[in-house]
C-alpha cells in the first residue's frame, strides 16, 4: 500500500472553466473534491488532479455533468442514439492494430468548448489508451467527409498534410520532423507502411499519429466523426464509450451503427446489476445504512435505480463489480460519516525471528561502542568489485552510475561512510545489518568496522571475540589460508565456527584505503547472519 500511481491533470483558465461549466457547477468543484478525492488549485488557472481511475471525469464538461447529478438532481434515465449507416471497410483486421470504431456526434457549433473537447480526448488516449498504444481517438469535422471510409494503409513515400500545417509533404519527412510524428510513428507502422484512414477524397488521418488538415475540427464544427483505432478491442470500446459520454453531456445526437449503447452488456446505456447486492453494502461499510439512502447515493453518483435493478452508466468503465458500487456509495455518503468499529485480532503477535535476532546483534554491537548505520542496497560498480559476484543478476535499467549495482557485501559501504566522515572525530566504530545479493540468493549480513589511527587486527579480533562470546560457547577459528582480496595477507581470514564459514575478518589493504581516500587504517568483519544463527544454535 502507499503507491502513488500517475495522477491525471486537467487545467484551463478560470474564466474559461466558469463559462463552460456554469457558475453554479463551478462553485461546487471544491465540495465535490471531497466526494471524488481529487486535488484542486484555484488561481488564474483552475487545476484539477485526478486519480487515474475515473477517466470519465477528465474534462470540465464531464466533471460538470457529474456535479449536476450529485448536487442538482440531474437524472439520465436512458442514453439514446440513432442508427446511421456508416460505410466503412477495415483492411487491417489482420494487422497489429486491427480494431476501428466510429460514431458520429451532431449538435450545435462546438465554439469555445473545442479546447476542452480536444484535451479530454488527448487525455483518455493517453491514460486509458496507454499513450495511444492500446487505443487512440481521432476527431474529424464530419461535414468535410464523404463516405465510404476505408481503414487501410499507405506508403511512407506518399504525401500528407498534417492538421497543423498548410501544405502536403512526404510522410517519411513528417515522421522525422513533426512532433506527433516523432512520438507515434512506431505505433502507426504496419509492415513498411503506415495505417491510413481514408474517405473518397483521400487520407483523413494516419492513426494513431496524425489527423489531416482537410478534416480538422475547429470552433465552427457542428458535426463530428470520431474514430477509434485499437490494438485491444476492449480498450477501444472503452474509449468509444468515454467519447460518446462527452458528446452526450453536451447534448449532441449520437449516431452509431454498431449500437454499442444498446448491445450487451448495455441496455439503453446502462449495465444492470441485481438489486440483491444492495443488502450487502452495510456489511462492507460496517455501518447500518437505510436502503432508501443507498438508492439515493447511487443516483447521485449517476447510477439508475429502477425496475428492481441497478444500472451502471456506460461511461463508468472503471466499475467492474459490486465493490466498485460500494466505493461510490461510501464516497457519496462521505468517509467522515463512517462510524468506526473496534476490531480485535484473535491471535498473539509474533515478531519475525530474523528481525529479533538482528536486534540482539545490534545490542551487542552498541554495547561495544559501535554506531549503527544504514546504507543503500543499490550501489555503484566500485563497491561491488570486492565481494563475491552474484550469478549475473543485474539492474536492467539503472537510473544513474552511482546507483547501478546490487551490493554484494556491506563493508565497501562502510569505507564510503568513513570517506564521507573523514574529518569527523575518531575512533569511528560502525556496524550495519542489512540485505546483500549473494552468489545464489539474497543474504542478511552484518558488518562492523573500525577506523582509527590506532587500529589493527588484534582490535577487530577482540571485538569479534567479545561479540561471539555473547552468542556461543562453541570454538571458532580464523582461517588465514583463504586469501581475501581486500585483506592484508596474514592479517585476516575466514571465520569458522564448527567448520562452518560464517564470514571474514581482517585489516583492509592500504591500496583500497587510498582508493577511498582514507587516512586511517580500517579493520572489518562481515558475517552472514543466517549462517551465524545456524552455526550457534
Amino acid at each position: 500500500m502507499g503507491d502513488e500511481y500517475k495522477m491525471v491533470v486537467i487545467k484551463a483558465s478560470s474564466e474559461y472553466v466558469k463559462n463552460i461549466m456554469g457558475k453554479e457547477t463551478y462553485d461546487k468543484i471544491e465540495e465535490f473534491s471531497k466526494v471524488i478525492g481529487y486535488e484542486y488549485e484555484f488561481g488564474e488557472e483552475v487545476r484539477i488532479e485526478f486519480n487515474p481511475d475515473r477517466p470519465d471525469l477528465f474534462s470540465f464538461v464531464t466533471l460538470a455533468d457529474a456535479i449536476k447529478k450529485f448536487y442538482y438532481n440531474k437524472r439520465d434515465e436512458t442514453y439514446n442514439f440513432s442508427s446511421g449507416n456508416m460505410d466503412i471497410s477495415n483492411e487491417n483486421n489482420k494487422s497489429g492494430r486491427p480494431f476501428i470504431y466510429t460514431f458520429i456526434a451532431k449538435g450545435e457549433r462546438i465554439g469555445e468548448l473545442l479546447n476542452d473537447l480536444i484535451d479530454f480526448h488527448e487525455s483518455i488516449s493517453d491514460n486509458v489508451g496507454r499513450r495511444r498504444t492500446k487505443a487512440a481517438v481521432g476527431l474529424h469535422d464530419y461535414d468535410t467527409i464523404t463516405q465510404p471510409l476505408k481503414y487501410g494503409s499507405t506508403d511512407l513515400k506518399g504525401e500528407f498534410c498534417p492538421y497543423d500545417e498548410d501544405k502536403e509533404r512526404k510522410l517519411e519527412e513528417i515522421v522525422l520532423t513533426h512532433e506527433k510524428g516523432k512520438l507515434f510513428i512506431d505505433l502507426a507502422k504496419t509492415g513498411n507502411k503506415v495505417y491510413a484512414l481514408e474517405d473518397v477524397n483521400g487520407i483523413i488521418s494516419i492513426p494513431p499519429m496524425l489527423n489531416s488538415r482537410r478534416t480538422r475540427v475547429n470552433t465552427s464544427t457542428k458535426n463530428f466523426l470520431v474514430d477509434i483505432t485499437a490494438t485491444n478491442g476492449e480498450t477501444g470500446r472503452k474509449l468509444k464509450l468515454l467519447s460518446m459520454y462527452y458528446f452526450n453531456s453536451l447534448g449532441y445526437e449520437l449516431i452509431d451503427d454498431s449500437g454499442i449503447l444498446d448491445a450487451p452488456p448495455l441496455k439503453q446505456g446502462f449495465e444492470s446489476m441485481g438489486m440483491e447486492n444492495v443488502n450487502k453494502v452495510p456489511k462492507v461499510i460496517g455501518n447500518e445504512i437505510a436502503q432508501k439512502d443507498i438508492y439515493d447515493y447511487l443516483r447521485k453518483m449517476g447510477y439508475r435505480v429502477k425496475d428492481g435493478t441497478i444500472g451502471i452508466p456506460f461511461y463508468r468503465i472503471d466499475v467492474m463489480g459490486f465493490v466498485d458500487l460500494v466505493e461510490d456509495i461510501s464516497k457519496a455518503r462521505g468517509y467522515d460519516k463512517i462510524s468506526e468499529k473496534e476490531i480485535k485480532l484473535k491471535a498473539f503477535g509474533s515478531a519475525n525471528p530474523h528481525k529479533k535476532f538482528s536486534n540482539i546483534l545490534s545490542e551487542i554491537m552498541i554495547g561495544m561502542g559501535f554506531q549503527e548505520i544504514m546504507s543503500f542496497f543499490i550501489t555503484n560498480s566500485k563497491n561491488v568489485e570486492f565481494g563475491r559476484q552474484s550469478r549475473e543478476l543485474k539492474i536492467m535499467n539503472p537510473k544513474s552510475q552511482d546507483f547501478s549495482q546490487l551490493r554484494n557485501s556491506i563493508f565497501p559501504e562502510m569505507l564510503e561512510f568513513f570517506q564521507r566522515n573523514l574529518r569527523r572525530s575518531y575512533p569511528q566504530r560502525i556496524f550495519e545489518i542489512g540485505r546483500i545479493l549473494g552468489e545464489e540468493n539474497e543474504e542478511e549480513h552484518m558488518a562492523f568496522a573500525v577506523a582509527d589511527s590506532k587500529n589493527g587486527y588484534s582490535y577487530i579480533k577482540g571485538y569479534l571475540e567479545t561479540f561471539l562470546k555473547a552468542l556461543t560457547q562453541k570454538n571458532y577459528f580464523i582461517d588465514g589460508s583463504n586469501l581475501i582480496k581486500v585483506i592484508i595477507n596474514g592479517r585476516g581470514g575466514t571465520i569458522l565456527i564448527d567448520d562452518i564459514c560464517v564470514g571474514f575478518i581482517g585489516e583492509i589493504l592500504p591500496e583500497i584505503l587510498l582508493n577511498y581516500e582514507l587516512a586511517n587504517p580500517v579493520t572489518v568483519a562481515e558475517i552472514d547472519v543466517d549462517k551465524l544463527f545456524s552455526a550457534i544454535s
Partner: protein
C-alpha cells in the same frame, strides 16, 4: 565540575562557564577554555554558548573588555590554598611561581590555580624575563688555579721583564695568548717582544683580577650579581668557555585587593574537589567539606553510539503491531512481476510496470518458476482478462512471460498476499516494515529505496468501519491524533482511502489504505475480507527528525548519528 586539572598535558582543555552580565543587562553564558599550548603559554579562549541577542557584537575582544564583568566567583581547593599562601606573606612583593613551594602545591597545580585566579581578578600574574649565568669548564679551572693573566702578571713582577717566547714556553701557547691579550688592555702591551713591569699599572690590574674572581665565585654560588660587576661580567662573557648566560622567563605572582578581600571574607578551609581513592582511604573526607560544584557547567564530552534513527522508528512501529497481535512478515527484495503486480490485479499494461517506474532485474540464466507458480500466474492473468465471479476484469491481454520478469519489489504488498494465501482460512493480522524500490533519481526529496510500513487484517469483521478504527488507533500511536480519510485509488483495493494528517496546521498525506478487491482474494481462495494499509517510513522520519534532506538517513554524517534526538 573540577577545573584547572588540565596543565599536565601539552594541550588539554577544561572549561568553565561563568555567568556574565553585560552592561546592557543581557545575561549570557560564556564558556572559557583555558589551555596551555605547546610553547607552554597559557591562553584563555572565551566562547559564547548562548545566542547573542545583539548581532552587532562582531568586534568581540573589544566588546568583551568593555562590557563583561565576571560575576560569579567559585574558588577551587588549589586556588584557595594558593590564595591563602599569598595573603599570609608579609610583603606584597611579587613572588615567582617557583617560590610558592610552601603552599604545598606542585608547580603544575600552582600554574593552573594562578591562571584561574588571574582570570577571576584575584591575583596579578606578570612575566619577568631573567638572565642566569653558569661557569664554563675554563671558568672552573681559573677559579682553582688562577686566571692566566694573573699568572703572567706575577711572572712579569718577579722578573721585571719577560720575552714573549719565554712566556709561551712557561705557560703554553693558548694560555699565553689569552694572558698577553688580557694584560695588554691594562698597559702591559709587549714592546719589541718584551713585557715590562709597572707597579702602578700592576696594582690596578690586580684589583680587576680580584673582581673577576669575585664574579666567578658569585656565579658558582648562584648569587645575584651587583651592577658594579657589569664591565667585568661582559669581559668574562666574551671569553670562551669561562661563563655562559641563560635567559629565563619567570612568572611572578602577587595577590590583588580583590584576592585579599576574598581571603578575609571567606576564611579558607580545605575542601575536597575530586574524590580520589587516596581521600577515601585516608579518611580526610570525614572532616573536610566537599566543594560545591557549578552544577550547570558543560560536562565532559564524549561520543554516544546507538541505533540508527530509522531503527528506533521501525522498532516503535513493530511494537504497535505486535501488541495488537500481528505477525511480522519478511520477504525478498527481488520479486517476480507475477507476484509484485499480477497477484495484485495490476494489469500488464499498467504504467507502474513501465521501465521508467520500476527497476527490472536482468538474469543471465533463465529464471525457472515452479509449475504451481506458473499455474497461479495464469490464474492471475485470467482474472485480469476475463474477471472472476461477478467481476468482469480489465479485458486486456496477458502473457505469462510478462509475469516471469524480475523486479526490485515496488511494494511489500506481494508479501501480504503470500501470507494471506498461506493462511487463507485463518483469520489473522500481518505486518512488515521493509524496503521497497522505485525508479527514481536520488536527491534531497527522493530515494530509489525506502521502507514501507504495511499491515493487513484478514477477518470476518473487516469493514470500512473497522479499518477506520484501526487507522485512528495506529496513527494516534504515532502521535497523529487528528486524521482524515479521503477517497483514493489503488488497483488492488476498493474502496481505497488515503490518510491525511495535520502537521503544523498543514494537511499532509501520510499513507494509503483500503479493502482488497475480490479479484485479488478470490483466485487465492482467501476466505474473509482483508483490509490493508501502508505508508512510507522515511516520510515519517522526515517529520520526526526534522530533516530537510532524505539522503541524510543513508549517507549519514557520523556526528548527526552521534547527536540526533531520539523521538519518543
Amino acid at each position: 565540575m573540577e577545573q584547572g586539572n588540565s596543565f599536565h598535558k601539552d594541550v588539554q582543555m577544561t572549561n568553565i562557564t561563568y555567568e556574565l552580565y553585560l552592561r546592557k543587562k543581557y545575561k549570557i553564558n560564556v564558556t572559557c577554555f583555558n589551555y596551555k599550548n605547546l610553547n607552554g603559554r597559557c591562553t584563555t579562549m572565551v566562547l559564547f554558548s548562548s545566542i547573542m541577542k545583539n548581532k552587532k557584537l562582531l568586534n568581540f575582544h573589544k566588546f568583551f573588555k568593555q562590557n563583561i564583568i565576571f560575576q560569579t566567583v567559585e574558588i577551587s581547593n588549589n586556588e584557595a590554598k594558593l590564595l591563602y599562601f599569598l595573603s599570609q606573606r608579609d610583603n606584597s612583593q611579587p613572588i615567582s611561581i617557583e617560590e610558592c613551594g610552601e603552599s604545598n602545591l606542585t608547580q603544575e597545580e600552582i600554574r593552573s590555580a594562578s591562571s584561574w585566579l588571574k582570570m577571576k581578578g584575584m591575583v596579578d600574574l606578570s612575566e619577568v624575563k631573567e638572565v642566569k649565568y653558569e661557569l664554563g669548564d675554563e671558568g672552573k679551572i681559573y677559579l682553582e688555579n688562577g686566571f692566566p693573566e694573573e699568572n703572567l702578571l706575577s711572572l712579569v713582577k718577579d722578573r721585571g721583564e719577560v720575552s714573549i717566547d719565554l712566556v709561551m714556553k712557561i705557560m703554553g701557547d693558548s694560555n699565553a695568548r689569552i694572558a698577553i691579550a688580557q694584560i695588554s688592555k691594562f698597559g702591559f702591551a709587549p714592546i719589541k717582544g718584551k713585557i715590562r713591569w709597572d707597579a702602578d699599572k700592576g696594582e690596578i690590574f690586580k684589583e680587576e683580577i680580584e673582581r673577576r674572581r669575585q664574579v666567578l665565585k658569585l656565579i658558582e654560588a648562584g648569587m645575584p650579581l651587583d651592577k658594579l660587576f657589569e664591565t667585568t661580567l661582559q669581559n668574562l662573557l666574551k671569553r670562551g668557555d669561562v661563563i655562559y648566560s641563560r635567559k629565563k622567563t619567570r612568572w611572578n605572582l602577587s595577590i590583588t585587593e580583590k584576592g585579599r578581600e576574598y581571603t578575609k571574607s571567606s576564611p579558607i578551609k580545605l575542601t575536597i574537589g575530586e574524590l580520589t581513592p587516596q581521600i577515601l582511604l585516608d579518611g580526610s573526607w570525614k572532616t573536610a567539606e566537599f566543594r560545591k560544584y557549578e552544577l550547570n557547567l558543560q560536562g565532559k564530552q564524549f561520543n554516544r553510539v546507538g541505533r540508527h534513527p530509522l531503527k528506533y522508528l521501525i522498532n516503535e512501529i513493530r511494537e504497535i503491531f505486535l501488541q495488537l497481535g500481528f505477525t511480522e512478515m519478511s520477504g525478498n527484495y527481488i520479486e517476480s512481476t507475477g507476484w509484485n503486480m499480477d497477484s495484485l490485479f495490476i494489469p500488464q499494461d499498467h504504467p507502474a510496470r513501465d521501465m521508467q517506474d520500476t527497476f527490472y532485474i536482468a538474469s543471465k540464466n533463465k529464471i525457472t518458476f515452479s509449475k504451481d507458480e506458473e499455474k497461479l500466474f495464469k490464474k492471475f492473468g485470467s482474472v485480469q482478462k476475463n474477471g472472476i465471479r461477478g467481476y468482469r476484469g480489465y479485458g486486456v491481454d496477458w502473457h505469462l512471460n510478462e509475469s516471469e520478469k524480475l523486479v526490485l519489489r515496488t511494494h511489500t504488498t506481494p508479501n501480504t498476499i503470500r501470507y494471506l494465501s498461506k493462511y487463507k482460512e485463518i483469520e489473522g493480522g500481518y505486518f512488515s516494515v521493509e524496503k521497497v524500490f522505485r525508479h527514481e533519481s536520488v536527491d534531497w526529496k527522493h530515494l530509489a529505496e525506502f521502507h514501507q510500513i504495511e499491515g493487513a487484517v484478514h477477518s470476518k469483521d473487516t469493514s470500512l468501519a473497522t479499518l477506520k478504527w484501526f487507522l485512528k488507533y495506529f496513527y494516534a500511536q504515532l502521535g497523529f491524533e487528528d486524521i482524515r480519510l479521503v477517497p483514493s485509488y489503488y488497483p488492488y483495493t476498493e474502496p481505497s482511502m488515503d490518510v491525511i494528517v495535520k502537521i503544523n496546521g498543514k494537511d499532509v498525506e501520510l499513507g494509503g489504505s483500503g479493502i482488497f478487491r475480490p479479484e485479488v482474494l478470490k483466485p487465492l481462495g482467501i476466505k474473509y475480507p482483508v483490509m490493508a494499509w501502508g505508508m512510507g517510513l522515511e516520510r515519517l522520519a522526515l517529520i520526526y527528525y526534522g530533516l530537510n534532506d532524505l539522503r541524510q538517513l543513508y549517507e549519514s554524517d557520523i556526528d548527526w548519528l552521534r547527536n540526533f534526538k531520539i523521538k519518543i
